[in-house]
């Protein structure tokens, strides 16, 4: 057993499930104080930008540069990506002509296979965040987390999913209360109103649309923990062991198509196991202080609209990073065909999908679209500033991260997926050199994805369509 492992186990013995921080409270950085964890984040917003009648980012009345006007303090932390082809997206468009299916689907995968006919699911390639999580996610309680701001509802699976694993889509968690519970399972639940969902729940349930929802389920109480020390963990472990055996046995009789489904299920069971303390370990009474700022955020809200949910979810993502609950996360704002939510605080009564489709050269549409998109990027900037303001080691949390700020379309109203534009923010602990523009007009974006993984210390032979992978884009 290596020295570092021994140390880690010693550490683990000292912490455990006491208090509200019921998660393994270690991180490698405590063992290797000099090494700060690297984190990989994807922040998505829908609909691209509006370049105006000139047709490229240098002309026209609204560009990435203009949208980022308020980012001047972050200029040296950013790589502006321009002119990069999304060939996989283009392939899907030529297959079925539906750009909504092409953009999000390919953004993190570079994979042109499509969900079709209700059975040919996605190709086995994981999205880049999941490929990175497979390599570095073992160190944290959650291999990865998918945050959403109304990222569900109102569209088909292939129009709204960003992250994939085992040929399955990983939907984002939109409800801050649910995410809070995942991150801080033993903390008192925040008191938040129910999340509005655009999913026709009452009608799908067969009840009348005006009928009120039944009262929420009573909070589960642990079953008679006679010996509080290891009882609860042992009990959970018994259940998970049993489930693993069942899934393994079922896999031998399920068809090939269903085996990936069971692989995904097994992955999820393993994630649950990671939340338990190591076998035989007695949870101690003293939580290990990871960082004085690692604590459940105080969440409160009168109503859950887009600004509120975005604020709460960014708070939770920030805490997940501070507490080292995960090192890989995606943050999905709406999705590529969101028909349900308006923007009253910006004076925009349109829904996002309609803004995407409107003639953005007309001031009536263009101004509103730009207002919304700029609001998105301003919120993202606010979150990035928070990371930058959080000291970590000899630098800060943003320096130790790589953040891919992306959108699935080039220009919203044209529904083009090429060129792919976006931002890379942070230095991935020194592996990335920001403060520049990257123009790669002939390099399929699969190679950018590979370059991101490389910057995270993860070398992948390919991602998505293999023939599109030539050589990882160096971000150094």
């Amino acid at each position: 057993m290596s020295n570092s492992l021994l140390k880690r186990r010693d550490l683990l013995k000292g912490m455990g499930a006491a208090g509200f921080l019921a998660r393994p409270l270690f991180r490698d950085s405590l063992v290797h104080a000099a090494e700060m964890p690297k984190r990989f984040l994807v922040i998505y917003f829908p609909g691209g930008v509006h370049f105006g009648p000139g047709g490229d980012s240098k002309h026209g009345f609204f560009t990435w540069e203009q949208m980022l006007a308020s980012w001047s303090d972050l200029r040296d932390d950013v790589i502006l990506l321009r002119s990069m082809p999304n060939r996989a997206g283009k392939r899907i468009q030529s297959k079925n002509g539906e750009p909504h299916h092409a953009g999000m689907r390919t953004l993190l995968t570079g994979d042109s296979s499509v969900f079709n006919d209700g059975k040919a699911v996605f190709a086995p390639t994981p999205s880049i965040d999941q490929a990175i999580a497979a390599a570095i996610g073992g160190a944290t309680v959650h291999s990865s987390l998918q945050f959403g701001v109304f990222g569900n509802g109102g569209a088909q699976i292939d129009q709204k999913r960003l992250c994939f694993l085992n040929s399955s889509a990983l939907p984002p968690v939109d409800d801050p209360a649910v995410m809070f519970k995942r991150l801080f399972p033993s903390a008192p639940a925040p008191s938040l109103p129910p999340l509005p969902r655009y999913s026709g729940l009452n009608i799908v349930y067969g009840s009348t649309p005006t009928g009120s929802s039944p009262p929420p389920a009573p909070a589960p109480t642990p079953t008679a923990p006679a010996a509080p020390s290891t009882y609860a963990a042992d009990r959970k472990r018994s259940i998970l062991d049993h489930l693993r055996a069942e899934i393994t046995a079922l896999k031998t009789v399920a068809g090939t198509g269903e085996q990936q489904k069971l692989d995904q299920h097994m992955t999820s069971i393993r994630e649950l196991e990671k939340k338990l303390p190591a076998p035989g370990m007695v949870p101690g009474a003293t939580p290990m202080p990871i960082s004085s700022s690692c604590k459940p955020p105080a969440l409160s809200a009168g109503m859950l609209d887009i600004p509120t949910v975005m604020g709460l979810q960014f708070d939770l993502l920030y805490q997940a990073m501070v507490c080292d609950s995960t090192r890989v996360a995606s943050f999905q704002i709406l999705h590529s065909a969101q028909p349900a939510f308006q923007f009253p605080w910006l004076g925009v009564p349109d829904v996002h999908h309609a803004l995407e489709h409107g003639d953005q050269d007309s001031a009536a549409i263009g101004d509103k679209f730009n207002k919304v998109q700029t609001w998105f990027t301003d919120q993202i900037a606010g979150f990035l500033r928070r990371l930058k303001a959080t000291p970590e080691g000899s630098s800060n949390m943003l320096d130790n991260s790589l953040v891919f700020v992306c959108t699935e379309l080039t220009q919203g109203d044209h529904h083009t997926v090429e060129p792919l534009t976006g931002l890379l923010v942070g230095r991935a602990g020194g592996a990335v050199r920001p403060g520049r523009t990257l123009d790669l007009p002939n390099v399929p974006h699969n190679n950018l994805l590979l370059g991101m993984a490389q910057a995270m210390g993860v070398n992948l032979p390919s991602i998505g369509d293999v023939d599109l992978c030539t050589s990882p884009v160096s971000l150094a």
């Binding site: 002509g97 889509a169 649309p209 399920a254 009564p349 489709h357």
Partner: protein, 567 residues
């Protein structure tokens, strides 16, 4: 790269909840009965998939309507994860609980317009956590009355208690897994029970069985794995499929007994169970969910509109619109057995005073929703109701392209080719002195656009007498609304000129095209997958003239598609 090529043709790309455009233009239909060839040919990879190697197609199958279709290869074995509402229905029936944890589960992914498509439903980590939490909560509640759940004398000996537990594991397992437990499973659950009993109470040991079974893949997935040669669903799998298709929950006592007694081996036995369950109130609510998912109206009570354009569209109106949609479909299912012709052609609906004002018809007497006869020249059937019209338009305009595309794909089941690669898809700007139809005139003026848009736009323009909230109108921006058009490349029985939405619906409602499309949609929903091209003939035989949804479901259940699988 991004120049704006005028003139533009906007549209094929938009629709909010579109099904995948398969790239095959269906035209030149050979006969009156629709051939239903979604996605055949072209580069649609999964349609018409060849049979798995080694599986020989069986003999020709008699169809529900007496004809004969060539045998089609069976679909692969499947595990169908319970949708969230199916989960809630199932725990309600299994545990007699009022908890509905599924309402806060990670939302199911929709595919083909439905929430129960097998390929789209998996168990990601966030959902596994929610399953675990829900199972713990349900087990805790259930074991509060352990004497009811797993009766045992309070002073039972260790051996006697073990017998109680054994009985419980068998009986609860039979219901949770919708089949008897295999010997090895019984042993494994017994070990789980005993390990827990060694460290905690009887109730807690019973509880761990419940908590585990509620997270078991045998509970969370409806297995369609089959047995024998040719591979055929087991009686318990058939019972499960019947029950979830008709009621959205686990089999009831009668159906379970039929499975235990191996009385589900013939189409007649299956049909009898389907018919019995179709008569239950639970079936009505469940089938309503199918109809409204199919027509894209499940969000009717939540569709947002621009109040500066539609100031009358307040919360009360939205609620009334949703109630009309529900009440109408319920009535179709209850009184007309789900008649397709009535669904799309009815001259009546349910309105309250608020909605009557919106529709411009006299308010009914009596409070709440009342059945009213509609002006015969203004509305006919579900597609002329506000729920459909408001759901399939933009917040500030009617948007005929969305409506037309939806109708063509989901009500007529005709596929559309993708737009040309460099089509300008930018929507025309709103204009204060033009009608919506005039703004989209480019679609017919430009031959490149017209090739496809002649398949879409006329269908949408027919509904221009209804604004974005479903209010009736004869003028727009001071100019008359023109609704006449021509239906092309659908089927000879319906192709031709029409004057507007009402006459169009009177033609379509009783047509074979629409009833066959209803059958295709019901097939997808019932079996949780898209049909293959080899199954087109069978689907074309499911609905006869005067078709109704119940008979379509019976025909699906009687077909070999329901019971045969391939590995």
């Amino acid at each position: 790269m991004m120049f704006r090529s005028a003139p533009g043709c906007f549209a094929l790309v938009l629709v909010v909840a579109s099904v995948g455009c398969t790239g095959q233009l269906v035209s030149d239909q050979p006969g009156g009965s629709a051939p239903l060839s979604p996605g055949s040919g072209g580069d649609s990879p999964a349609s018409g998939a060849p049979p798995p190697s080694g599986v020989a197609p069986g003999p020709s199958a008699p169809t529900a309507t007496g004809g004969t279709c060539p045998a089609a290869p069976p679909a692969s074995v499947a595990l169908r994860r319970l949708s969230n509402v199916e989960y809630d229905n199932t725990v309600r029936d299994l545990l007699n609980t009022t908890q509905t944890p599924g309402r806060s589960f990670l939302e199911e992914d929709e595919a083909l317009g439905f929430r129960n498509i097998a390929a789209a439903l998996t168990v990601p980590p966030a959902l596994a956590e929610q399953y675990a939490e829900a199972a713990a909560g349900l087990a805790t509640e259930a074991t509060k009355n352990v004497s009811t759940l797993a009766p045992c004398s309070s002073n039972a000996s260790a051996t006697a208690e073990r017998t109680c537990a054994d009985t419980f594991i068998r009986s609860f397992g039979r219901r949770a897994f919708r089949r008897p437990l295999a010997a090895a499973e019984l042993q494994a659950y017994t070990r789980l029970y005993e390990a827990e009993r060694g460290r905690a109470s009887y109730a807690s040991a019973v509880g761990i069985v419940v908590e585990t079974m509620l997270q078991s893949p045998h509970f969370l997935y409806r297995a369609e794995l089959g047995a024998g040669t040719p591979l055929r669903l087991t009686p318990h799998e058939i019972a499960t499929q019947i029950s979830y298709m008709v009621t959205g929950s686990m089999p009831d006592t009668d159906l379970s007994a039929a499975a235990d007694g191996n009385r589900l081996s013939t189409p007649e036995q299956i049909e009898a169970q389907v018919r019995r369950l179709l008569m239950t109130p639970r079936a009505n609510g469940w089938l309503r969910g199918f109809v409204m998912q199919w027509l894209g109206t499940t969000n009717a009570g939540e569709v947002p509109k621009d109040l500066t354009v539609y100031p009358a569209y307040d919360d009360a109106l939205r609620a009334s619109i949703a109630q009309e949609a529900v009440r109408f479909v319920d009535a179709i299912l209850a009184e007309s057995k789900g008649s397709i012709a009535e669904l799309f052609g009815a001259g009546w609906t349910y309105l309250d005073a608020r909605l009557a004002r919106h529709y411009g018809v006299p308010a009914p007497t009596g409070a709440g929703l009342q059945r009213v006869t509609l002006p015969a020249d203004q509305r006919a059937g579900v597609l002329t109701q506000a729920a459909f019209l408001a759901s399939h338009s933009k917040p500030n305009e009617s948007f005929p392209i969305t409506r037309g595309k939806f109708l063509r794909q989901r009500v007529l089941c005709r596929s559309l080719p993708p737009p040309p690669p460099d089509a300008n898809i930018v929507a025309p700007r709103p204009s204060p002195d033009m009608t919506t139809r005039e703004r989209f005139a480019q679609h017919s003026a430009n031959p490149t656009c017209a090739a496809c848009h002649k398949l879409i736009d006329p269908l949408g323009f027919a509904f221009e007498t209804y604004d974005g909230t479903g209010a009736f109108r004869t003028t727009e921006n001071g100019k008359p609304v023109v609704t006449a058009g021509e239906l092309v490349d659908v089927a000879p029985e319906v192709d031709g000129p029409f004057a507007g939405a009402v006459p169009l619906m009177r033609t379509l409602a009783p047509s074979r095209v629409v009833s066959d499309c209803a059958a295709q949609q019901a097939f997808r929903w019932a079996l949780g997958r898209e049909e293959t091209s080899a199954e087109s003939c069978l689907i074309g035989s499911l609905a006869g003239p005067g078709a109704d949804l119940r008979e379509i479901l019976v025909a699906i259940a009687r077909s070999d598609r329901f019971v045969l699988r391939a590995r």
